[in-house]
């Protein structure tokens, strides 16, 4: 684990500030990402946990500027080494994507072209970033494959991606992503499609990439176990917002937001004695575009108060690099003041 004290005054590698992403739909604009701020310090693995529709994947795509046609970043900034990626020209952004940020996806086959061998794709990527003779690039490619735990790299170089298993493809994707030694690796559910034994190998590989190259990793998942396994810091996303940010130990020891608490409680555990019924979170995950007023979690929250229906909670700082958005954390007076404020606004609107 990295030294947490050292990172406090250090400027983070990636700093996302107040990012909002909107999609045009038949039902009008839908906020997939709603005012998200998150830092990825150098050499740290930051996890984003959320369910489907929480906006975690769209956040990654916004950072990479790979949003679908109908999506648009409406506000905020994405600072990589202090440079705002959102202000770059397309050509500059393409260079950033290979050199400084790389991304791995849930479906490894998505990133690999079935018409070319693994070797051809690796060699091409390596030479694009560092021009060199094909022979040298191929040697480099074989080394890379060996470093991601592939037993016979020279054989695999001549295989087509569709001949490889899911775990093997994901290794090749990681090798491809690491080939240009990026400073930041964005991994969007990279192990969700894999079996647990293979998942364990891939997670080890990512940890090794961090330790060997000092890469930072933004790791997106829906699995709390994976978070516990490799992350240093976690952000919990719900309905397009980050509801809690915390160092990983403290998140598991003392979750601040009711959603995080409920998620942790409702997991069927390996170590626990059997409890029935398992604690549940009532209701359904809100669909994008159907976010309720006030706090997005209030319809499912066991502790919802009247203020939760009216006003979105402010970010409450619990400790350095630890905060949550929940009215329960605010003082009585702040809540009262806020509810007066919304009442006043409500009158104005009518």
């Amino acid at each position: 684990m990295s030294d947490k004290n050292a990172t406090i005054d250090d400027t983070p590698l990636l700093s996302v500030r107040d990012l909002s992403t909107v999609f045009r739909t038949d039902r009008g604009p839908v906020y997939a990402v709603n005012g998200v701020s998150i830092d990825v310090p150098r050499g740290e693995i930051v996890g984003i946990i959320g369910e489907s529709g929480s906006g975690k994947s769209q956040l990654c795509l916004s950072v990479m500027r790979l949003l679908a046609e109908s999506g648009r970043v409406t506000s905020g900034s994405v600072l990589l080494n202090g440079r705002d990626l959102l202000c770059l020209a397309d050509r500059e952004m393409r260079a950033v994507r290979g050199e400084e940020i790389a991304m791995i996806f849930q479906e490894p086959s998505v990133g690999l072209d079935p018409l070319f061998t693994v070797g051809q794709q690796l060699v091409e990527t390596i030479r694009r970033h560092r021009p060199q003779p094909v022979r040298l690039a191929r040697e480099h490619a074989a080394q890379l494959l060996a470093s991601v735990g592939i037993a016979r790299p020279t054989m695999i170089l001549d295989e087509y991606p569709q001949k490889l298993s899911g775990g093997m493809c994901q290794r090749v994707m990681i090798a491809l992503a690491l080939s240009c030694e990026p400073q930041l690796l964005i991994a969007d559910e990279p192990t969700t499609a894999l079996d647990v034994t293979v998942q364990a190998q891939i997670l080890d590989l990512l940890l090794k990439a961090r330790d060997d190259h000092g890469s930072s990793i933004l790791f997106v998942t829906h699995d709390l176990g994976v978070i516990a396994e490799i992350c240093d810091h976690v952000a919990v996303m719900y309905a397009g917002q980050i509801v809690e940010r915390s160092p990983v130990d403290q998140l598991f020891d003392a979750p601040q937001h009711p959603y995080t608490r409920a998620l942790l409680r409702s997991r069927p555990l390996l170590s626990d004695a059997r409890v029935h019924p398992l604690p549940t979170i009532p209701g359904q995950v809100p669909r994008p575009g159907e976010q309720p007023q006030g706090c997005p979690f209030h319809p499912r929250c066991p502790d919802a108060m009247s203020i939760c229906h009216m006003a979105p909670p402010p970010v409450h700082r619990v400790a350095p690099r630890r905060d949550a958005r929940c009215w329960l954390l605010e003082s009585e007076a702040d809540r009262a003041q806020a509810s007066e404020g919304t009442a006043y606004e409500g009158e104005n609107n009518e």
């Binding site: 038949d26 209701g283 359904q284 669909r287 159907e290 976010q291 309720p292 209030h298 319809p299």
Partner: protein
């Protein structure tokens, strides 16, 4: 209201034909296509009222320009006359009726035969599928006209016979479309779920799979309808179609080609009607496909802007 309450049932939602009419009202192109098609069908239904003098030959006024556009018209025929001096408007009315009947009948035959065979091929696979697909290959390797000549020569010309010939060549499109769709649908988990529940093959095929084929069949109908009317014209032109003096759209078009430079109306008016039929059938077909697809939301109230 929170999002948890969004699935409240709309008990006041209109049903059946009323729902269809309401839904159609708010789709402008579908509405226009429905009206055009309804107009053409009504005209075709009223065509038998045109009799006697309007259809008589009057060689004195042959190739008379349409009275609608030309002051020099002698016959007074609104859409002009043909080379035998017959009123084009009256003939077009009758021709539309005949063409719609031939096209409709041919499509109906093709659709029923093709859909049933396609369903069975896709579901049963194996030897039955092989047999039918080899027949399809054989039919596709023969030129349509040669095939039509052979069949018409065997069973003789006439409206019903022509429709049969067209239908028995047109089923191929349906069989291929439907078979492909069934092969796709049978892979879906709900088909296995139906087996698991204990459904018989007939039930699975006709209750679970066939409704999903509806969309592609509608597309097939709209695609083939125009083709059938044009194919009938080809046959008529070759003298294998519906024998004169019964007018058909294709027949009038075919006959007009000798006098095309002298009498544009003989090409323009049947052409416009043919186009209007094919186009509106296509639009209505697209609309029906969307309407019956539960995934496509159909608003029955005007969307707020």
């Amino acid at each position: 209201m929170g999002p948890m309450n969004t699935h409240v049932p709309h008990t006041t939602e209109p049903h059946g034909a009323q729902h269809y009419l309401l839904a159609t009202r708010y789709n402008r192109s579908a509405l226009v296509a429905h009206l055009v098609l309804a107009g053409i069908v009504c005209a075709a239904l009223l065509a038998p009222l045109v009799r006697g003098p309007a259809l008589a030959q009057r060689l004195s006024v042959s190739l008379d320009p349409p009275a609608l556009f030309s002051a020099s018209s002698q016959s007074g025929a609104l859409l002009g006359t043909d080379s035998l001096g017959r009123d084009l408007g009256a003939r077009l009315l009758l021709a539309t009726r005949v063409s719609l009947a031939v096209g409709g009948l041919a499509v109906a035959v093709a659709c029923v035969v093709g859909t049933v065979l396609g369903l069975l091929c896709g579901y049963l696979m194996g030897w039955f599928d092989n047999l039918v697909m080899r027949v399809v290959d054989a039919l596709l390797s023969l030129p349509f006209v040669v095939l039509a000549i052979a069949i018409v020569a065997a069973i003789g010309p006439g409206l019903v016979n022509v429709a049969m010939v067209l239908g028995l060549t047109g089923w191929i499109t349906f069989a291929k479309l439907v078979r492909g769709e069934v092969l796709r649908i049978r892979q879906q988990p709900f088909v296995e779920a139906a087996r698991c529940v204990g459904c018989s093959h007939l039930r699975i095929l006709f209750l679970h799979i066939a409704p999903h084929v509806l969309g592609i069949v509608l597309v097939g109908i709209t695609l083939t309808f125009g083709q059938m009317i044009i194919a009938e014209a080809t046959l008529s032109f070759l003298g294998l179609g519906i024998p004169p003096p019964t007018p058909t759209l294709g027949g009038i078009l075919a006959g007009a080609q000798e006098t095309f430079f002298a009498a544009w109306w003989l090409v323009a008016f049947p052409g416009v009607i043919l186009m209007a039929i094919v186009l509106s059938v296509n639009v209505v077909g697209d609309w029906l496909r969307d309407y019956f697809d539960p995934h496509v939301p159909i608003p029955v109230v005007r969307r707020e802007r």
